[in-house]
Symmetry: C2
Subunit: 384 residues, 2 copies
């Protein structure tokens, strides 16, 4: 982290990634207070930001237990940044076990997940052969989103018994991710999804316990279900990631406002195409990512919503299309006048992204901004 | 570049990016021979690969004049890799001129582009004030794709006169990019687009010359129009980029075969969801990119076409959906049986990408493969 309180946005090369510090701090506080108030603990998912400084801020909140990661590279990076309690929440593959073992040997409390008896047997046997005890959670499917075992299935108990019986594995608990909540565009639907995620996860844990299999942890979460939750009885921890930044997709389902979105891409105007009502910028899809998450929502913001460089709202301009290094800005409604007089060549603009995880991943650093000044640069990691 | 001829794919951590060396060499040769045969020269666009080793191979072909870049960071990187003749083919903004000047001062023959009299005057004045001569090309719009000045417009001549008259600028020529060719899905349409790009560009150069403005270079190109071209009279150079790798989008419009695609993502099977006919892999959108280029083509391959790890065709499986670190593989036609017996947990697969530029950008290195063996690792650059 470097710090130079006199830097203004004009001094930055575009495109680059801005992080609004007061907004992020507010977002972090909001989620932590909410989960604390419901008597559960929070395990932030760091895949959104991949940044040691941001993880440290999220973990500074009371009631935060450790982190969730989506790759072993993230686990390695955050362990090097002093975080020991790490859940790798993507189903493990046999060829990844040596990296898991290496982290455990260095003192990392790394937990892996699986949803198949075949993999459970492989982990148990490998642990036995290595004289090691792998920490494992059983992934549940509570909403048909992607992965996980049916909480009501025989497979759940089969996996539980395998992991419970072997000295090569420790069953830490069950975990679910209600990813379908991203498509719930009302508070009522999010609440229903949150309760379903909770009920099915708690029921799975109760089934294991009734079968004599210890299951201490019940882990659930996604930003929409975490914020919608009104009762987390039986849930020991909640995972959420995108809440630190929020984005247009989250705003589109009503879990945040545009003014909560903490990251934006700073871009320069590089061309005017008056005949076609276009403004060309230097933030194409390489900067914004190809994520078009709002395309399936009520309001489609193209590749992002355009703001002035100070963050204030402009007439409704969006990045209607994008090439690799060209953003094509148009009015949201076809045929509206473009305020070219406000947008001379070289004008700086901020673009709010569809999906914070995707846009942030295009950059290697955050320019941390507080009231228009660059107060720090924070690096982020990437890769696998 | 490291070299270890004994490495097999099993030794790699997934997901990772494979580069099939014989295919890439064939693709490079094909384009170079074609453009040479038409009597023009080739200026490869390096934004696809962003790799010094690959640029060196493309430039080793006779009849290659220099490179095209899409960012100043690419210009800096490739200049450090020994390439002097560089065209920065994205419209310049005033705040980027100090980096342009710094490269020129180090001996780089860097050419910039613009399409507005306001920017032409700014460049000319800046060059005069600095005692420097900026090398400039006028960007043309030959197909309504994005940027550029109308070849038949008064603005073209106005820009030409400004740049020609000033000691602060040198008019190098005109350049066009027929980006709409990506949507031309027949050879006839690509040929027509190629001729239009040529005719309008040559006509623009002739208009400038007739007005007493020297215009030595006429630069055109895109992979589809370059390969379709049958007569390049008047064109002094052709730019193309994705041809070194090709991808499913290029195959979809018929300019290559699937077996010409030189990059793929190596992934591991991490889950089976038999009830829903899914196979889960560790190559999600962070590995494949969010690019869904084939969604608008006749055959939609989702986030990519699945092949065996040796590159051979499998029953028609595609990455039907993707989360950040999960690929969701299904049969291309709903309801077909999934060959689970061929896909045990841990199985390695190769995924052919929609868009090579986007997928490659998700990785920091190429694992260069020749007949199933990893023969080298090449780094790629990124950022702005």
């Amino acid at each position: 982290m470097t710090s130079d309180p006199d830097r203004t946005l004009d001094s930055l090369s575009t495109p680059c990634l801005l992080l609004d510090l007061p907004r992020m701090e507010r977002n972090i506080r909001r989620m932590a207070e909410h989960i604390r108030g419901l008597g559960s603990s929070l395990r932030p998912h760091v895949k959104t930001h991949k940044c040691g400084e941001i993880a440290a801020r999220a973990l500074a909140e009371p009631g935060t237990s450790g982190i969730t990661v989506s790759t072993l590279q993230e686990a390695e990076y955050f362990f090097e940044h002093g975080i020991r309690d790490i859940l790798y929440a993507v189903g493990i593959a046999p060829n990844k076990l040596p990296r898991v073992a290496a982290l455990m040997d260095r003192g990392c409390d790394l937990t892996i997940v699986l949803d198949d008896p075949v993999m459970a047997r492989h982990i148990a046997t490998t642990g036995e052969n290595e004289g090691r005890r792998y920490r494992v959670m059983i992934e549940l499917d509570t909403d048909g989103h992607r992965s996980g075992v049916d909480p009501a299935s025989q497979s759940l108990l089969e996996i539980g018994h395998i992991l419970h019986a072997s000295p090569g594995s420790e069953l830490v608990g069950v975990m679910a991710h209600a990813g379908e909540s991203y498509f719930c565009d009302s508070g009522a639907a999010q609440l229903a999804m949150s309760r379903q995620e909770r009920d099915r996860s708690v029921a799975a844990a109760e089934r294991l316990r009734a079968a004599g299999v210890a299951c201490p942890v019940v882990s659930v979460g996604s930003t929409p279900t975490a914020l919608a939750a009104d009762d987390l009885t039986g849930v020991t921890e909640v995972r959420a990631g995108v809440y630190v930044f929020f984005d247009l997709v989250m705003a589109g389902i009503g879990v945040c406002a545009h003014d909560d979105i903490a990251i934006s891409v700073l871009t320069s105007v590089i061309g005017h195409q008056r005949e076609t009502g276009r403004v060309i910028t230097d933030a194409g899809w390489m900067a914004m990512s190809r994520d078009r998450g709002t395309a399936r929502q009520e309001t489609d913001y193209g590749y992002g919503l355009v703001r002035r460089s100070d963050g204030s709202a402009l007439d409704a301009l969006i990045v209607a299309d994008a090439n690799q290094e060209h953003g094509i800005v148009k009015t949201m409604e076809e045929g509206q006048p473009v305020p070219y007089e406000e947008l001379p060549l070289g004008t700086l603009l901020r673009i709010l992204p569809n999906h914070a995880c995707a846009t942030a991943s295009e950059f290697d650093r955050y320019f941390v901004v507080d009231r228009g000044e660059v107060v720090a640069e924070w690096e982020r990691t990437r890769g696998w």
